[in-house]
Amino acid sequence: MMDAPARSRAISLEVNGEQIEMEVQARRLLVHFIRDDLGLTGTHVGCDTGNCGACTIHLDGEPVKSCMALAVQADGAKIRTVEGLAAEGELTPLQQAFNTHHALQCGYCTPGMLMSATALLERTPHPTEEEVRYALQGNLCRCTGYVNIVEAVIAVGGSA
């Protein structure tokens, strides 16, 4: 049977390992679904134009900007948000390194930075500075000047 267009859709997805079933409006942005419907407010809205990366999450293992996706597009997907990193209550080595290297000031960009850097480290466990900067190009930080963020990520990889 053909999928008829509808204003809302029952979606089923996995978020931080938990199965979720919910009816959402087609116009609902994924970032609002995550923040307002699921109450996971670690994912931030910075620019709402696709530029800043504060809303970065993992969709089926890939970093994407959740302000540029509709919640209905995530039907059937696996999502990980910043709350899914320290799932057992213990900071990941990357989160720890952000602390040690003073890689945040106001912290607004941090969830997005962590998600982009986590995706990088999963694929490239020992990234070079160039690789780190390339991976974080879609994440803006107005406070730190990036140097400490890049150092934190490199420190986790153990190179340089």
Binding site: D3, P5, T49, Q73, A135
Partner: protein, 283 residues
């Protein structure tokens, strides 16, 4: 941001997608969403129905046609293009240019089909696909047709894809010894282009196309003619670019005046042609 209300469907086949697009007024395909969702936020466009192409697996493949053409499905993402062994063998410039579009997150979602269907004058792929001699396959209720880049790009946000139609794939001839180059000036590293140029040099001579200087990619035909039989030394490329800027009528905006773009067009064309000349292996 709260979007205007919209209907959503996720068809399972290309035929279903086409019949949905034909049946509902104000229906639009949804590919990677990296342009259309922002456009909907700004209410520049307000589609009534979004037809999500996500489940159309046949649009996600990269392969070769029986006559050796590299075929890229419309839903292939930039990330997929960058990791494709077929692209690496047949036309590596596609992966090289894709790797400089925006950032990792945008490249994970944005598609080749979406990039050309928005026909944004600052996008990376339209000038590149123009010089590569790419073909565009469009499917509608009454069948399939294939058009050239010159026929495909009609205006800003306007292409040969009509209502009730889908771009299904893009065909690119393999390089066979030719050299490809791409250069330009961006706003910030890997940002939006102010002007860009793509060039291909083969046994038939040079093909050059400029982006951001008109509504659609502009072929630098006079410069191409001046390069006929050239040794492609730096000097001869530079002198062939002379007068290119004066032949253009580019827009002015906060990022550059019309005159500045004329200047950048010559600089970009020289860089792209030089790069292409260096990379030739068989020509």
């Amino acid at each position: 941001m709260l979007l205007r209300e919209v209907d959503y469907a996720r068809p399972a086949t290309v035929e279903e997608a086409i019949s949905l697009l034909a049946k509902y007024e104000g229906a639009r395909p949804l590919a990677g969403g990296q342009t259309i969702v922002n456009v909907m936020k700004a209410r520049v466009a307000a589609p009534d129905v979004l037809v999500d192409l996500a489940d159309l697996d046949e649009l996600r493949t990269i392969g070769f046609s029986s006559d050796g053409l590299l075929e890229i499905g419309a839903m292939v993402t930039y990330t997929q293009l960058m990791g494709s062994s077929e692209v690496e063998v047949a036309r590596p410039i596609l992966a090289e240019v894709a790797s400089t579009i925006a950032d990792v997150q945008v490249r994970n979602r944005g598609t080749v089909g979406g990039n050309v269907c928005v026909s944004d004058p600052t996008n990376h792929l339209p000038p590149l696909l123009t010089t590569l001699g790419a073909t565009f396959t469009i499917q509608g209720g009454s069948g399939e047709r294939t058009v050239s880049a010159e026929e495909f790009f009609i205006g800003v946000y306007v292409t040969a894809v009509g209502e009730g139609e889908l771009l299904t794939k893009i065909g690119v001839p393999p390089s066979s010894g030719s050299g490809d180059g791409f250069a330009g000036v961006t706003i910030g590293k890997h940002g939006t282009y102010i002007v860009n140029a793509a060039a291909t040099i083969s046994g038939d001579g040079a093909r050059i196309a400029l982006g951001c200087v008109g509504a659609t990619p502009v072929r630098a035909t006079a410069m191409e003619e001046r390069l006929a039989g050239s040794d492609f030394s730096e000097e001869s490329i530079r002198s062939a670019a002379d007068g290119l800027g004066a032949s253009l009528d580019p827009p002015s905006d906060v990022h550059g005046s019309s005159d500045f773009r004329r200047h950048l067009a010559e600089v970009s064309a020289v860089r792209a042609v030089s790069q292409a000349a260096e990379r030739r292996t068989g020509a």
